[in-house]
Structure formats: C-alpha cells, structure tokens
C-alpha cells in the first residue's frame, strides 16, 4: 500500500475562525486505490479538513496538491471541476425528482442539433440509459431510475448519492458520514458500494464516527487531533480500542510499534 502513488495531498493547512484555530498545520495524504478513513474527536479539525479538501472552505495557509499540481479552490464547484466529488452528510438530493434527474442535476445532457441547441431540449433517453448503466456498474439494485428519490429507503438514497459521486468523480470521492442514521442492513449495503467504488479504481475519503464500519472497510486511518494529523494507523494491525486511545490522546503515536502505523 505504501508504494501506491499519492493522489491528493495537503501540507500545513491552517484555518482560523476568529479566535478558534480549527486547523493548525494539518497534513493529509491520499493514495491511489485506497479507502482512507478520517476519524477524530469533535473539534479535532476533521470537518474543517474535509471542507478544505472539498472546496467548501478556503484554508488560510497551506497547500492542496492533486496529482502533483497545487490547486486553489474558490468553492465546491472548483473541486468538482477537477474531479473531486463530495457526498455531504445531509443527503444533497432533490426528493421529488427522479433518480436520473438527481444523478444529472447540474450536468444535464442536451439533445443534438436544433432541438438541443436552439430549444435547449434535454436528452432524457440518453440520461436514463447512462443512469441505468452507471448504477449497474456499481451493482446498485434499484428497480426504476424514473422513480422519485423520496420513494427510496434511506440506504438506497445514500447509495444514489454515493453512486452519483462515483459516476462523475475522476480523482477522489469524499464521503461525509455515509452510514450515519442507517440501520445495520442498509449500512452494510452502503459499505459494499463504497468497496466497489474503490475497486473501480477511485480512492475514497471516508469520514465516519462508526468504528466498526471504519475497521471493516478502511485501508488506512487518518486520525485528526488538535487541528493536526495525529497519526495514520493500519487497521489490520491495531485494535479498535488502541485507535480510540490515539484519537483521544491517551496513547501517543510514537509509543506504538511501527507496524501499527501506516
């Protein structure tokens, strides 16, 4: 794993909100083909880090590097444009619209020729075909792409949101608590999907509070602590309770045996 090339990197990110320093020189490294879990206590700088990476906030200092290029985001749209797709916790979907419409919201396909150029007519057939194909690629079992998103269960909705991100991301998929508020079965359904996204070759950043889920699918664990990167752990070697101890500061990373670090 350590030999995989870096896809995304952040160096010395600083973000202050008034008197509060949310990020205090945080580093971040995401490698090709991995699921990197990001964990941390409340206030550890976890969400500020993710916001910087997804373009939702602009860091005061530090660099973000994507495929060796330094990039500057002015907003989430810039991040999307360079191939970073983020699924936000509060399910950013339009409930009364169909799954296909949600998949293509903001990047609709138009018909060719007069109908598309002059009348601006949408190519609904092509979008439906692509939606079916993309969902099949990821083995998301949904009966009809023309049903409204509100008719889906919470897990299915989350799958639609993850599939949308995976379908359009060229570099990175960022998932913010994708299994929160889901039952066991539905949570597993989403975890399966995240695994398939990685196996397709897209690296995934997974923010989660759910330790069993993190240990089930993460390749490496980034521990945010006091606005910095506290440690990067190897879930195959370290126990869940030691991970929590590192997260809370009860265990220092330098006291851990080296094979537990990743």
């Amino acid at each position: 794993m350590a030999t995989q090339p870096l896809v995304m990197q952040a160096k010395g990110l600083v973000k202050r909100y008034g008197q509060v320093t949310a990020l205090d020189g945080a580093d971040f490294e995401l490698r090709a083909g991995e699921i990197l879990a990001v964990i941390g206590d409340n206030g550890a700088g976890k969400s500020s880090l993710i916001k910087c990476l997804s373009g939702a906030t602009i860091p005061d200092e530090g660099q973000i590097i994507l495929d060796g290029q330094i990039i500057h985001f002015k907003g989430p749209i810039d991040a999307r444009r360079v191939g970073i797709e983020t699924v936000y916790q509060d399910l950013a979907v339009a409930p009364a619209m169909t799954i296909t419409e949600n998949l293509f919201l903001g990047r609709e396909l138009r018909r060719e020729g007069f109908l598309g150029n002059t009348l601006r007519m949408l190519d609904k057939k092509k979008m439906l075909e692509q939606a079916i194909q993309r969902m099949n690629d990821l083995k998301v079992g949904i009966r009809s792409m023309t049903q409204a998103v509100e008719t889906l269960s919470g897990g299915q909705r989350q799958c639609v949101a993850v599939a949308r991100a995976a379908a359009f991301a060229e570099h990175v998929v960022i998932l913010d608590e994708p299994t929160a508020a889901l039952g066991v079965k539905e949570g597993n359904m989403v975890l399966e999907l995240i695994r398939r996204v990685r196996d397709k070759g897209l690296p995934v950043v997974l923010i989660s509070h759910n330790m069993p889920h993190v240990f089930e699918i993460a390749d490496r664990i980034h521990v945010a602590r006091l606005g910095k990167r506290g440690a990067v752990l190897n879930p195959k070697k370290i126990s869940m309770s030691d991970t929590v101890a590192v997260m809370t500061g009860a265990l220092k990373p330098e006291d851990l045996p080296p094979e537990m670090l990743a």
Binding site: R107, R110, L122
Partner: protein, 319 residues
C-alpha cells in the same frame, strides 16, 4: 407488477380534473345555458387574465415561494401602458413594452429583496402589494383611463371557429402555457426551478446558485403579470386602477387547485390552467344560477383550503 393504478398521476394532480368535472356536471344539469361553445369561450375570456398571472405565480410557488402582489403589479402594468399611450402619446407597442417593463421591474424588486436580503417572500410581496397598489392609485389619480389605442384591445377581439367566437387573448394564454410547460419539462433551466423548490442546498452543491434561479423566476413572473396587464386592458377596454383585487387571490387559488404544492418543487404548470378554468367555471356557473357574488367568494375560499389540505395529506401519505 405494473397496474393501471401505477400509471395514474397522484391524487394531488387529479384534483383539478375531478373538481372541474363535478362543477361541470352540477352546472350542466342546473342551467341549460352552461354547456355551449359560446359559454365555454366566454369562460376562457373571463379566465385569461387570472390564467396568465397564474403562470408567473406557479413558477414562484414551485420554488417554495409565494407572490401576494401579483394582481396589484398587473393593475399597475395596465395603468402604465394605457397612461403612457394616452398622456404621453407613446406609440401603443412601445407603451405595452413599457408596461411589461414596469411589471418585470417589480418582479425584479421582489426577487432582489428575497435573494439578496433574504427576506421571506410572504412579507416582501405583501409589502410590494401595498406599494404597487398605492403607486397605481397615485399615478392614475384613481381615474379609469378610457382612451385606449386599438392595438391594446386587439387581444380581446374574436375570430370564429365554426359557430363559436374565440378571443385572441385566450389563444395567447394557451400558447404561453404550452411554452412554459415545455420549458419546465424539457430543459435544464426548467428542471432547476423544481430543484430549487425541492432542496436549494442540494442545488447549490451541484453548482447551480439557487439565488440566480429565484431571481430569474421572479423577473419572469413579472413579465407574465405584464402580459396579463395587456389582456386585462384588452378585455375591459380601459386601464382600471382598481383591477387586480380579485385576480390576486384567484391566481393563487388556481395554482393550488391545479395541484402545485405550496411547499415547492412539485406540480405541473398545466394544472394551473385547469385550476384557473375551475375558478372561472365556478364564477360563471354560479352567476348563471343567479347566486350572489359573495357566495362565489365563499366557495373559492373553501376550495383553496380543500386543495391545500389535499396537498398536505398527500405529502404525509409518504409520497
């Protein structure tokens, strides 16, 4: 298993058809003048002003907003176009454009206050309701403008289909409805109106600023109110400073009866046309039955509440 039931639209969208059907059956059996081409043509002429206002109102309600000022803006538009032509001698086509420009400007004011200062649409448009009414009265001196150039009344004139005379204005109304229906259904910008009504945050996150969509919707609604101004002038032959008072709530009634959800993001524009016709049929049928106009107001009031109840219940029903 796909049954016939799956193919039927949800009850909230069937409502206006059912209401229209019931109203037609009642009036058809109680008055013998109701079922005639001439009477239906008259109903359409009576609803064309409300119908076109309702197009703008539907767009706004689809974004989870509301416009209480629509009728007053329409009245101001008709005063501006007739007075520009009468007092300033502005050529009719230009005067018409000025009137529509003023209504679009009021739509822009509504939109700017709602999107830039983030005021709730209810309060903004309630304020603009009063402002537009006052400006209309002040500018017209509370006098009806009677010297109207013929170009402004042309839409009220009729042509014959068989035995029935049809007003050009009703044709314009139907064409506008079909145009907006196509836009909302078949184009990306039309779908974005629904998306903003559904979940503005989601819309922002996919790169569509909801403020821009909202602003354009309010301006566009203003343009439709301006067209309604022209239709009002063409129908009455005068610029009436007291117009728009019943149209204001009738337009909202038409939209809600037409199955568009007041919570935004759901509805079909053609439903508003049916809703407007339902309101028109009620007024017409009750008049033919000799029922006093106060009862018409009463029944429209009950209808709106019924329609909103259906909307609320069908949402709770997990749809």
């Amino acid at each position: 298993m796909s049954t016939f039931k799956d193919k039927l639209p949800p009850i909230s969208q069937m409502g206006p058809f059912i209401a229209l059907l019931i109203a037609c059956v009642i009036f058809g059996s109680t008055t013998n003048r109701f079922f005639s081409g001439e009477n239906f043509s008259l109903i359409l002429q009576q609803v064309m002003v409300v119908g076109v206002i309702a197009i703008g109102q539907t767009l706004i309600i689809l974004t989870a907003g509301i416009d209480l000022s629509c009728g007053m803006i329409m009245a101001l538009g008709s005063i501006v176009m007739t007075k520009f032509a009468q007092d300033l001698g502005v050529p009719a086509p230009l005067a018409i454009l000025c009137g529509i420009g003023v209504t679009a400007l009021f739509g822009l004011i509504n939109g700017l206050l709602i999107t830039r200062i983030k005021l709730p649409p209810f309060i903004v448009t309630l304020g603009v309701f009063n402002i537009a009414f006052a400006i209309t009265q002040l500018y017209s001196g509370a006098q009806t403008i009677t010297e109207v150039p013929p170009a402004m009344t042309w839409l009220g004139s009729t042509f014959n289909i068989g035995q029935t005379s049809v007003a050009y204005g009703t044709v314009l109304m139907i064409v506008l409805y079909l145009g907006v229906w196509f836009w909302l259904r078949e184009t990306a910008s039309g779908r974005h109106v629904y998306a903003v009504g559904n979940n503005p945050e989601a819309t922002r996150l996919v790169g569509i600023p909801p403020e821009n969509v909202l602003l354009w919707v309010y301006v566009l609604a203003g343009v439709f109110y301006g067209i309604a101004s022209l239709l009002a002038v063409s129908r009455t032959g005068v610029g009436d400073p007291n117009a728009g008072q019943t149209e204001n709530l009738d337009a909202i009634t038409a939209v809600v009866l037409g199955g568009t959800s007041l919570f935004g993001g759901r509805g079909v524009i053609l439903g508003s046309l049916i809703g407007a016709v339902v309101v028109g049929v009620l007024r017409n049928g009750l008049t033919l039955m000799g029922v006093s106009s106060v009862y018409q107001v009463l029944i429209t009031g009950i209808l709106v509440i019924l329609a909103v109840t259906v909307d609320q219940l069908s949402r709770k029903g997990g749809r």
